[in-house]
């Protein structure tokens, strides 16, 4: 499959994994390997002296690039501080910018997200913002210097798939930076659809980590993303109202 390129950096996989929700680091490790991912998110939290093992060890062992997120932040100020702490702790200026509006829906706050994006770009970060399926906001964030845009398919962890494929297509049509479908993926067909709609990559976590067999679902997602990408590149046939014979007509 052709490489995914974000901010000039190449990735041989178009499946970006999250690490949340896995019952253990061992289960996570096997799922990450099965997914073939080359880029994976982590969250920043207070250090727990009792914690054993680190998600960072797993990523380092598998040579997977770490993408810190700002999950749990409700304001631009919180997100900027979290990104700076992640840069300090992990030695990367990449950040998945995530500023949440409320606990119940976990939908992204567009105003705070845009504010934080401008400040982080000015501070030299490579910013990948998580946003609603809003073509206007996606365009504004690209103009503000973001390296990609990450519209949701449905609320985080909902597994509802892509609720508004038309908006995703509009974002893809206008974007000059990679579009990464983030959140809402429930099963393999959702990931394939994202790629068929023209997304450059898919980011998912829960669909794999909370599946009954995470490593098997990770393999399914890998196949789905590749199949969807190939179908997009191949160019699908138009939808027709009536049949069109595929065998020669007549005697």
């Amino acid at each position: 499959m052709d490489d995914l390129i974000i901010a000039g950096e190449k990735f041989s996989s178009r499946l970006i994994m999250g690490t949340g929700g896995a019952p253990s680091l061992d289960v996570l490790d096997r799922a990450l390997v099965a997914s073939g991912t080359r880029l994976t998110t982590v969250a920043m939290r207070r250090l727990d002296p009792a914690a054993r093992g680190s998600v960072l060890d797993v990523l380092r062992r598998r040579d997977i690039k770490v993408l810190p997120n700002t999950a749990g932040c409700f304001t631009a100020g919180d997100a900027v501080l979290t990104a700076r702490l992640a840069r300090e702790a992990l030695g990367t200026d990449w950040v998945k910018l995530e500023v949440i509006a409320d606990e119940r829906t976990l939908l992204p706050d567009p105003i705070e997200t845009f504010d934080a994006a401008e400040r982080l770009v000015a501070d030299g970060f490579t910013v990948l913002p998580y946003i609603g399926d809003d073509p206007a906001l996606a365009r504004r964030l690209e103009q503000a210097g973001c390296a990609a845009v990450m519209p949701l398919g449905a609320p985080i962890g909902s597994g509802l798939g892509i609720r508004n494929p038309h908006s995703i297509e509009l974002i893809v049509e206008a974007a000059g930076v990679p579009v990464i479908l983030d959140a809402g993926i429930g099963t393999a067909s959702d990931a394939a659809l994202a790629m068929e709609l023209g997304c450059d990559a898919v980011l998912l976590a829960t669909a794999v980590t909370r599946a009954q067999r995470p490593d098997l679902m990770a393999a399914a997602m890998r196949g789905a993303v590749e199949a969807g990408r190939l179908a997009r590149l191949a160019g699908r046939i138009p939808r027709r109202r009536y049949a069109e014979a595929s065998s020669p007509v007549g005697p």
Partner: protein, 66 residues
């Protein structure tokens, strides 16, 4: 003096540095970042940055998420 480290109030000697505060929680120095009163303290200055009374120290690391 009293400081808050990751949300817990702690009594520490005057002149306690950021590096000493971090060592209360962990011996790790990589994969860890510190903010004092919402400002990042870069690792190179942990040993030379002294805490003041009622400072809020946050020691963060990467965990599973996203």
């Amino acid at each position: 003096m009293k400081v808050t480290i990751n949300g817990s109030a702690r009594e520490v000697p005057h002149g306690t540095t950021v590096a000493q505060a971090v060592r209360i929680l962990t011996s790790a120095t990589t994969g860890v970042a510190v903010a004092v009163n919402d400002e990042v303290v870069t690792r190179g200055t942990w040993e030379t940055t002294a805490l003041s009374d009622s400072d809020r120290v946050e020691v963060l690391t990467a965990v599973q998420g996203g």
